[in-house]
């Protein structure tokens, strides 16, 4: 049992769980705000997956400020840089989606997907 509980498996659990739950909310929920929440959660899941691609067990963050650290003791910095980009892009998309939702709400007075004619997909 305890050999199943490795950092690797836990990270997979977290990222797949979040991706799937997020997508489920996107596909199933009728509320527009919750739809955006679903996207946000799925994005967090993908970010965890991306960061984990660079993780090497037992190694530290790739920062040389502390003296005596060698490059061989560090994790891969590239995925972390990618995730920084992905987080910011995700925020941009979320904010824009909310702006659209707010504006649509002011036009139609509803947040329910099924009440908005053009959104029945």
């Amino acid at each position: 049992m305890s050999n199943l509980i490795t950092i690797e498996n836990i990270v997979y659990l977290a990222s797949f769980g979040l991706i799937l739950i997020g997508l489920f909310i996107v596909f199933s929920d009728k509320n527009l705000v919750k739809l955006v929440i679903g996207l946000d959660i799925a994005e967090t899941g993908v970010n965890i997956l991306l960061v984990s691609t660079g993780y090497i067990q037992g190694k530290t963050a790739p920062i040389f400020s502390r003296t005596g650290l060698k490059a061989s003791q560090m994790v891969d910095p590239v995925p972390q840089a990618l995730v920084l980009t992905a987080i910011v892009i995700g925020f941009g998309v979320t904010a824009l989606a909310l702006a659209l939702v707010v504006r649509l709400y002011q036009k139609t007075g509803t947040l329910d997907v099924s009440e908005i004619r053009g959104l029945k997909w």
């Binding site: 799937l20 199933s28 920062i63 400020s65 490059a71 590239v78 702006a99």
Partner: protein
């Protein structure tokens, strides 16, 4: 019904994901495949002079991505101000601000900005940098806007800062193109003394530009979500 189908779809997709990716043992890969990350972490101190390898990747190795990323934020802020412009009549504040709240926020403001700047200029030495620093600076503005009726964000001012920071980023990039390395965003300055603030060539400068840009973009984006963010300026502006 809709939930049921979504559930089936998601379970199918999840099964596919888990059976394929779940078999990759990741925690010890890295070296074995000779990834670019390993090369970067080995060379970064020599190449860039930045202590924080993530920063050197964000600003130099993959600086072009970062340029695209601030562009995405720029777009989001622009889109939000376009979409939300003139949606609602100027409304009163959500709550009545008290004297203590107002004074407190004024007192806090410079410190929060200072903290944000600290995070930005130490981006190449410690974790942090342009993005979190920009958020912190934006937060300082929100506190003022939320608590004090007298201060209004000027949309013009925010967008001027944003443009100037973006153009600085591009100008630094083009300077690299004109320099000896003849490559966009190349580091044309000296590396300086390792692990000090003015080390790592153009990295602190680019990160400062990113910080200002992110800060002003977030101020603009979140600001346009406020009930009356830009006051009467909005009607006159554009």
């Amino acid at each position: 019904m809709r939930r049921f189908f979504s559930l089936i779809l998601i379970i199918g997709f999840g099964f596919y994901l888990v059976t394929v990716i779940g078999r990759i043992p990741f925690a010890a890969t890295g070296e074995a495949k000779g990834s670019v990350g390993v090369q970067i972490v080995n060379d970064t101190v020599n190449d860039t002079g930045a202590a924080n390898a993530v920063t050197s990747v964000v600003v130099l190795y993959r600086g072009f991505d970062t340029l695209g990323e601030v562009t995405v934020l720029f777009l989001a802020a622009l889109g939000m101000s376009l979409l939300l412009k003139g949606t609602e009549e100027v409304k009163a504040r959500v709550f009545d601000e008290s004297f203590i709240l107002k004074t407190g926020s004024y007192l806090l403001f410079p410190f929060i900005v200072l903290f944000g700047l600290y995070i930005i200029v130490h981006g190449h030495l410690t974790p942090g940098g342009g993005f979190p620093g920009g958020v912190v600076i934006a937060t300082a503005f929100f506190i003022i806007v939320m608590t004090s009726e007298m201060v209004r964000l000027r949309e013009n001012l925010v967008s001027i800062l944003e443009s100037l920071a973006g153009l600085t980023f591009i100008a630094l990039g083009i300077a690299g193109l004109l320099g000896t390395k003849n490559s966009f965003l190349a580091n044309f300055m000296g590396k300086g003394v390792f692990n000090t603030i003015l080390s790592a060539g153009i990295i602190p400068f680019i990160y400062a530009a990113i910080g200002i840009k992110v800060g002003s973009e977030l101020t603009g984006a979140v600001g346009s979500m406020f009930l009356s963010p830009f006051g009467k300026q909005e009607e006159a502006g554009e």
